[in-house]
Symmetry: C2
Subunit: 396 residues, 2 copies
């Protein structure tokens, strides 16, 4: 397989952006990524476009990428439209990596864009609720013991159930979860593209509106609009911009059958990624992970092998995952603070790693960052994430 | 790049199947393909799943492939959900080919499934109508001069406008279109998996209900439910079943900007496919092409280089594209007779080529078929197909 590099990245600010459209968001992110790579539209040989909900929210289904890219002047190139719930973006990155690493193309675009806000909020929640087996919805809701109401509550019921289980098994507390939110919002304050941010205290987080016990509003990722893009290239194109960011591993997985614990797919993907990249968690300088909730971040410390099971909260409490710590996690602010426009999130994680590895992350720069990992998860199927991916990138 | 082979294929009968679900259709096609390949679920390393409308018709979005494959026992493998309007199936084949040819995997599954029928027909038509830039719908409809009604009419208005233009430019007649329908329905009669079939006369076709002049009902592909699947493998797995069907070219394209004529993307894809496979139209033994309407088939004869522009009707009249002719086209019955469950169509074309190249096509067998081409198109963007693909397969 050939080496694959991230030549350029771009993203809009994530926000509730009622006046934006899929097209305006896409244009901004793609233009950013092309400018960053020093490449033009005519040099792009193929595009992998990720979006999860436009069909249900804006009514644009089937050829979303073509419609978003056309105003930028793209003509004739292969365009693939990809969905994998909240892991749609990293799935698109994975396909682009396959095209470069497999020698099919030398220069490809990845675009993720999502317009989640809608004047009718129920439309947004109902779209998000399709990231499960919809035929099993009633049964799942009954099992979770949620309020049986809208789809928003379904995923929050699910996350809350995972959080309660983690509290039991790992002796984690709501204060631990609050500390994650404080950290990530603090990071987000240093990220001009983050939706939220602020110097919160644990009390601010604990006192915010309860979503589903033990989760409060500030422990849950927001509803966001936004786009992110990346240009991936082969060795042939790589000389255009130094320092180079190389993809050391690109792993995609799906829900494991009868998993013994949540995040089994992510655990497997991480193990495979470490193996492919010939390194381990101790070699990482930073991580962007899928903190759909604050509790998830702690669990993912363990899933990614930073600490043994049950010690996630300890790692946080030691300050290891803060900026300046041993292994900063979500320096971008993560989903909690940066926002979570579903199809863009996995690509935004790659953008953050790229900026960090090129030492261009400004106030949130991780010192001497040479190796970074991104973990992105999406959907829910019988006890595991329906889709999950792990990417490892290195400065080279 | 490594060689990629089609190790097995399967499909349901295409039909209006109100009692079927995405899951039951998928299970039948996948089990067929696995049995045909002599492989089991545990040997599949990744899956590429195509569907165009489930989010809008059945409410299942985002993780369609995971939901469809789970009951069959798949666990943990990479699953990618792909959309590209009516070319979704061939796009999934293209991604699977990339994974094998690029050396990422040795054995992958492609699944396309579509459930178009719904008790509320307007839901089906409205879903089909998302294969354009939905923001431009009103403008396109006005330009086409259609009835401005439902989405079904939109695409039929479009196809009819193309057909009228072709009648002017190529001196083609409605009788020519009728002959295409007669041929394909005749072929479909020999295909147990075809939705329709029958020994029609040109008068039967001309006398059927007018959809939009010059197109009658029997000149237009039907609304269908169905699934198709294929297993693609590398050299390592190929020995399991002879004769071998090798993928000589897998080309995907999108709408060309400001095209001089319809099907520019398909024209380019065909030229590239011939170049990659080091052969020309004269080397082909059979073709499966995207006869969304009977008129489209004649235009595609020219687009694929079988004859110069304007001579499609002559080729048909000579009998060259009939079974037993020089270059049989749509021996399966094509979309017109076999049916068109959107996400399954491109994979069903590959299934037909595979059966033909292995001399397993029964009553519709093309004698000594060694090289076949499949052309699949989807959606509409500013005068061209939004997505298009050409595959060339050879017995080896």
């Amino acid at each position: 397989m050939s080496a694959a590099y991230v030549a350029g990245v771009g993203m809009t600010r994530f926000a509730k952006a009622p006046d934006s459209t899929l097209k305006t968001l896409a244009r901004a992110a793609v233009q950013d990524a092309l400018d960053d790579a020093g490449l033009t539209v005519s040099e792009i040989e193929a595009a992998y476009c990720s979006n999860a909900t436009a069909g249900l929210i804006t009514g644009q289904e089937m050829i979303r990428g073509q419609v978003e890219l056309r105003p930028l002047g793209f003509s004739g190139i292969p365009i693939v439209n990809v969905e994998n719930a909240c892991a749609s973006g990293s799935t698109a990155i994975h396909l682009a990596w396959q095209a470069i690493a497999g020698g099919m193309h030398d220069c490809v675009l990845v675009l993720g864009v999502e317009k989640l806000t809608h004047e009718d909020k129920s439309r947004t929640f109902s779209a998000i609720g399709t990231a499960i087996d919809v035929e099993a919805r009633a049964e799942i809701e009954a099992r979770l013991g949620g309020n049986g109401g809208d789809s928003r509550s379904f995923f929050m019921d699910l996350y809350a159930a995972n959080a309660r289980r983690y509290m039991d098994e790992a002796n984690a507390t709501r204060e631990d979860f609050a500390r994650v939110a404080v950290k990530n919002h603090g990071n987000g304050t240093r990220n001009p593209r983050a939706q939220y941010g602020g110097d919160l205290t644990a009390s601010d987080v604990l006192d915010s509106r309860e979503v589903v016990w033990p989760l409060t509003l500030l422990m849950c990722c927001p509803i966001s609009d936004g786009a992110a893009a990346a240009v991936l290239v082969s060795e042939r194109h790589k000389a255009r911009r130094a320092p180079f960011v190389r993809i050391e591993a690109s792993i995609l997985g799906s829900a494991v059958r009868a998993p013994e614990r949540p995040y089994s797919a992510a655990r497997n993907a991480a193990a495979t990624a470490y193996e492919k990249a010939s390194l381990g968690p101790g070699d990482l300088d930073l991580i962007e992970l899928h903190d759909g909730t604050a509790a998830a971040e702690l669990m993912l410390y363990e899933v990614l092998g930073l600490v043994p099971d049950g010690e996630g909260a300890r790692l946080l409490a030691e300050g290891a995952t803060e900026l300046g710590g041993r292994i900063p996690v979500n320096p971008s602010g993560g989903l909690l603070s940066k926002g979570h426009p579903i199809g863009a999130t996995g690509i935004a994680q790659i953008a953050e790693l790229t900026w960090q590895l090129r030492a261009e992350a400004g106030e949130r720069q991780v010192e001497d960052a040479r190796i970074g990992l991104a973990q992105n998860g999406g959907g829910w199927l019988e006890g595991d994430s329906a889709a999950t991916s792990v990417h490892i990138l290195a400065r080279s």
